[in-house]
Symmetry: C2
Amino acid sequence: MKISQLEPDRGGARPRDIPEATVARLAAYLRALTLMADLSATAKSGSASSEELAAAAGVNSATLRKDLSYLGTYGIRGVGYDIELLTAEIGRALGAHRPHRVALVGVGNLGAALAGYPGFLSRGLVIGALFDVDPHRVGQTVGGITVEHFDSIAHVCAREDVSIGVIATPEPAAQAAADALVSAGVRSILAFTPGVITVPADVDLRKVDLAIELQILAFHETRKTAEHSESSLSPAADGDTENISPAVAVSS
Amino acid sequence: MKISQLEPDRGGARPRDIPEATVARLAAYLRALTLMADLSATAKSGSASSEELAAAAGVNSATLRKDLSYLGTYGIRGVGYDIELLTAEIGRALGAHRPHRVALVGVGNLGAALAGYPGFLSRGLVIGALFDVDPHRVGQTVGGITVEHFDSIAHVCAREDVSIGVIATPEPAAQAAADALVSAGVRSILAFTPGVITVPADVDLRKVDLAIELQILAFHETRKTAEHSESSLSPAADGDTENISPAVAVSS
DNA sequence: GGCTGTGAAATGGTTCACAGCG
DNA sequence: CGCTGTGAACCATTTCACAGCC
């Protein structure tokens, strides 16, 4: 899907240009690798073929190989990829080796879910601050972190060295939250609110709209059930079962 | 994604083939239109140009026109689109005119957030059932609906005529949740768990991985900050110059 | 032999630009 | 004249297929 909000995307020649779609999958590979490492800690060879990795991540093996080729040449022909090496290499590429501090604005159910989300740490993500406007929530502890007041975003973000912001407020507060984060120097924002949010050109904004995800399903569902019309004898002999949907994307 | 299998080309121009990316945006347009209708209920002309609509949805106007052209010809040249007509038409295309019943498995923070999500109804989505394994949660009421036990999915889904399932359980329970939903006859599933879920070929599975979204931001963030320290190579063409105006302007 | 790395082809999606209608 | 609808150009991504290395 794609709810894009124009992004500059400087075309300057940089070391290696990794396609947007590849970045999303690299994160999935990293996760699959971490899982594999745990499982095969006792036995196994310590390496995996592109086929195995692809299955574990839910993608096509050719896609995986091409994705990895953007990082460099880390596979061994005839054998596969060393799990440990590849984990480190992808982690490096994604910047997961160095922690990123995240500020979360809006500590409702969704915010709390995010604050308690496991597996951030292993990917270099650290929730550094929580904010809310509700006096009842300010001062409380969620996921081990004390909720601070919305008005202190600038101050706290500076103190906690936050570089990424997440907006999980109700819709009407989203723009204000974005503004506050931007003022605080945050240049990467993930928003869970529908609706347009305006940010300066140098700020990276991603959006995830839960209702849209469901509506896409509803669309397909409608199509499926509406198929009673013609007795076409092609019952979705679809080959693969795999399915990876990076969901909402921005960045054109 | 599979929606367009090789169709025998039926004579009538009934079901046009709508691209996946367009479907996602149609949902966004629908939302923008509903908002517009509310705002302009008192005054305004009752129609909007592709430019206005595009701005309200955060996309390019050419993209919007092309998207709408898949539905048919509903605009008026020299004028724009009638808001009410277009709303109805997009709603029809998306299947939002007829309600879809949704079952939600896993009523933790995330599940509760979804159950309380406003704006589902206006888009034809109705939460019909909530499930959890936790005895403490079963029997409780969330978002006006009583939480039922995981084991009764098949029974309750049939009773409530559920066609879409949402998985918001902890990771380890995800596959079991999917299996249960599939057994209950659900053929469209949205999962918020990372990791691979296997479903039969005729089941539509979408995934949203919160950690991946953040990791993508972290990647860009790493690039941004690395760019400042890397003042070599590029022949002084690197500054902060964003000549491209993003101009995500929201008008009228 | 098996598997990676990668050009090249195929597919899907976005943007341009303009003809044509209201 | 303004704005839609759309072919055509453009760009991104996926998939194929195979050469080359282990």
